[in-house]
Amino acid sequence: MSNTPYSTPAPSNGPVTDWATDYDVLDPGYVRDPYPVWDELRTGCPVAHSDRWGGSFMPTRYADVFAVAHDVEHFSSRDVGVVGGGGEVEGMPEIGLPPIDSDPPVHGWARRLILPWFSHNRVESYEQMTRELCNDLIDEIIANGHGDAAQGYAQRIPVRVISWMLGVPAELSDTFTEWVRDTLEFGHDLERSVPAWNAIATFFFAALEERKVNPGTDLVSDLIRAEVDGAPVPDIHILGTLALALVAGVDTTWSGIGSAMWHLATHDADRQRLVDEPELIPTAIEELLRAYSPVTMARVAASDTEIAGCPVKEGDKVLLSFAAANRDPAAFERADEVLIDRAQNRHIAFGVGIHRCAGSNLARMELRVAVETWLHRIPDFRLADGAEVTWAGGQVRGPRSVPVSFTMATTSPRPTPVPAATPVPAVSAVSAVSAVSA
């Protein structure tokens, strides 16, 4: 995986003294509370630079992040990893992650292969299953009388939905979760990330061979049946796309759900308002996505260019902190406040331009159903007394532990399940994609 992230960890230079020239995206204080740093950079040095973790530039203004994300001519996606210099790492599997690390023209057809799996209609068909899953997890939490809204809830939802889409047993979810944490949260630690990437590649290689013999209605089988300009998609491409579906679809969404749960556990008025006005939840979800955008993606300068007047050389890495952009007061009124009824919200938590998160419909559905279901059944909850919230950051930011307490008397029993909660499986016809029309 020579083009993928998580390579060449740079040694830390000790504590940061100047964020404009020496930021550290994994600094624990920054991971916990990055907002003051971004505010300072936007006014003082809107395109910061650091030599740490392989070296990178980091624009913090909405307009600049927006411009780089749209400028696919000057900024390649061939290495989207926030940490690492993009060099060869011994032992990494030789797969890419199309389409997230693809540039045009490959990007177009690689993306069209998977988009129908995340279409609005398709995602609706996963909703009932997601709701049942959330209720299963809440049953457990209510039975225990307490719980962790991150570890015991948020972290366990997206991985099970994606497992279903891939047609693999839900029992593998905990293994998947470990792999994804090792590749993203611990991407800078090669002792963890290299074996995890290999485990993912090995797993999907076996799945691919198995589905060739026993095709089903899952994403793996669909990609095997797919054609691009009349030819089958190469195995190595399918392998990379499957690895992406797992790695990009799990940590990101659980971090989003976790941040939403953390916010509601620490902001009583917002929690109560959503209990009283559940119809406001979709609007609130957009605001929570803006305020706590989980994902940062990188780009590599394809030629010497500039960002808002700051010169960037060919090969330089640029971090697109969608979270920093979404806190820019030039783009949002009261940008530093979380207003759960914010009606005008042009946030870019899912990125912007041709690489807009392909799974954004799925992530939004999971976020909404997770919050709706929890608030319906455990309306009166808060951060547990003395609880320590831990945050992960870097490529994906979100809380790793959100211990909560709740009033048992206000909890609701599980709603009567709607019969036949089987999601609509897969596609009925073979995907045929044209590289020309993409």
Binding site: L115, Q344, R346, G353, N361
Partner: protein, 72 residues
Amino acid sequence: MKVHVDPELCQGHNRCYAIAPELFQVDDYGNATERGNGDVPVELEDKARLAVANCPEYAISIIESPESPESS
């Protein structure tokens, strides 16, 4: 009032469809288009403006021409 989605700019965020499914439709690839010829009934004009204000790609435009009989 009429709405129009620029297909060159739309990247399939589907925010318009979430806000105003009466005015927009999305295909399997996420591409949004205005329904019919884009006419916006008076009672949906606020929703149309919200869809414009929430599109991350600035892909939606509103054509206000109350004087023109063709646009009513």
